[in-house]
Amino acid sequence: MTIVVIIALIIVAVSMLGFLYRAIKGPSVADRVVALDALGISLMAIIALFSILLNTTHYIGIIMLLAILSFLGTASFAKFMDRGEIIEYDRHNH
């Protein structure tokens, strides 16, 4: 089991390098946001694999927390790209 987990960790780390390449080089802002979202999702996979490798279940709450934070970041950045502000105060103007 340990050798399978180590192989999977190496594969996920290489795929995170691919995401990082797109986050650095990507021509538009949307490319970078997509790459950072995928990086957050891969980080959840890495934490799950490390909880097997270290043989503990205390890391599982962190996965849930990271999922919520990654979705919040992506949604708020999408709204910032669309409207120019994240929280709109005047609701009668549009």
């Binding site: 399978v4 999977a8 999922a67 999408a78």
Partner: protein
């Protein structure tokens, strides 16, 4: 006996998920357009992480005969919010006018902007 079978299933799930994540990274590296890249990232990466977490769930069931409900909740949450995130980003990218590739022949949303 049954623990060995569950362990082998967990190994298969983990390797499948890692391969799926690698395919997603390959698509993000090679595809020409922001929309096709988001197609690759939001589908394959979500499925890969769901496979890996299913493998971890099966591993902890086999190891100490204990079901981890927050891991199942994380799988459901990723399944719900991964495609929604991709949709929001692509909608904003279309509205601010990120160009698509030269091979695109048809734009159905042109009048809806």
């Amino acid at each position: 006996m049954i623990d060995t079978i569950i362990n082998i299933a967990a190994m298969i799930f983990i390797l499948l998920g890692a391969t799926m994540s690698f395919v997603s990274a390959l698509g993000l590296y090679r595809l020409p357009d922001v929309y096709t890249r988001a197609h690759s990232a939001s589908k394959a990466s979500t499925l890969g992480v769901m496979f890996i977490m299913t493998g971890v769930l099966l591993f902890f069931i086999a190891k100490d005969h204990q079901f981890q409900p927050s891991l199942l909740l994380a799988i459901l949450f990723i399944f719900l919010t991964g495609p929604i995130g991709g949709h929001l980003i692509m909608r904003s990218a279309y509205y601010i006018g990120v160009p698509y590739t030269k091979k695109t022949v048809r734009d159905d949303l042109k009048n809806a902007k």
